[in-house]
């Protein structure tokens, strides 16, 4: 069975939700601990949402130095699929696995809304289940989700994975909601697909695709 690890940092909040999403698509969820430099033979990794270390300094700045992150960075560089959601995206940027940075929302307020997104790149390990330009609705909830970086270049290189539709909730440059690395195994996403996996508790089930994608990319590999 495909093993997908979800790292819990002190202050991680959506770790249980990510584990649940992994379980729902039929993969084996594996809880990873920030303090253990050990990946327990997982095939893919999710860095979940939350406020690691309270997000007091900068989001993700302290978590990036956790013992487990050395392993995550090495695995990412060797091609293992890694998805950073919200705080996880911030950690990936702080770790320089993804370019740019996430800063305070343009409106200066934490914002939780059901957000329309367009999936732009379906070539990654995490988005292959979508069709190009597919429109989905997934919750976004963050206080520091404004992506800053070289949007032109990211678009030119095809590295923008998803963009906001309609109102841009945080002022991200180029309406960027998610990006990937050159190889396509590392994806960072501000919206929370793990909160759109069950119509009972989310606005849609549109988030399932991120988890089914990784499953099929690993089974197919």
């Amino acid at each position: 069975m495909v093993r997908v690890g979800v790292v819990t940092f002190p202050g991680s909040l959506d770790d249980r939700d990510a584990l649940r999403a992994v379980r729902i698509v039929g993969a084996e969820p594996v809880a990873l601990w920030h303090g253990d430099a050990e990946l327990h033979d997982v095939d893919a990794i999710v860095l979940p949402g939350g406020f690691s270390y309270g997000d007091y300094l900068r989001c993700g700045a302290i978590a990036r130095f956790s013992p487990v992150m050395g392993e995550v960075i090495a695995a990412a560089k060797s091609g293992m699929p890694v998805l950073g959601i919200c705080n996880g995206f911030q950690i990936l940027c702080e770790s320089h696995l993804l370019p740019g940075a996430l800063t305070r929302n343009g409106g200066l307020r934490f914002t939780c809304v059901d957000q329309g997104l367009r999936i732009l790149d379906t070539s990654t390990a995490w988005t292959s289940a979508y069709s190009t330009n597919q429109e989905v609705v997934i919750p976004v909830k963050n206080g520091e989700g404004q992506y800053v970086g070289d949007a032109q270049r990211l678009y030119a290189d095809g590295h923008v994975v998803a963009s906001y539709l309609g109102r841009n909730p945080n002022g991200s440059v180029g309406d960027i909601a998610g990006i990937r690395n050159a190889k396509g195994n590392v994806v960072g996403l501000m919206p929370h697909p793990e909160h759109a996996v069950d119509a009972l508790t989310g606005p849609s089930t549109d988030g399932l695709g991120f988890f089914t994608s990784v499953l099929s990319s690993l089974v197919g590999a």
Binding site: Y53, G54, Y56, L57, I62, F65
Partner: protein
């Protein structure tokens, strides 16, 4: 007197808890930085003005610091002129 700016430093009063500074103080030794006994984290505002910075202007900035930039219930501030 252009090329100058006014800087307002805002720090939590010493008796007020500073979780942000504490988080940094806790993290630094883990990264191998030693000998640090305390960290306080505050805000720094750099204010650029369109005319010469005289005492009246500094007074105005002080007033602005008091009303908007700092929260006098929990924070102290200092105002000073700085070369660019």
């Amino acid at each position: 007197m252009s090329g100058k700016r006014v800087v307002v430093d805002v720090m939590l009063k010493p008796e007020i808890a500073d979780p942000q500074g504490q988080a940094v103080a806790d993290a630094l030794p883990r990264l191998g930085f030693s000998g640090i006994t305390g960290v306080r984290q505050g805000k720094r505002f750099e204010i650029v003005l369109d005319g010469p910075v005289d005492d009246a202007v500094l007074d105005m900035v002080r007033k602005a610091a008091e009303t908007l930039l700092a929260n006098p219930v929990i924070e102290d501030f200092t105002v000073r002129l700085e070369e660019d």
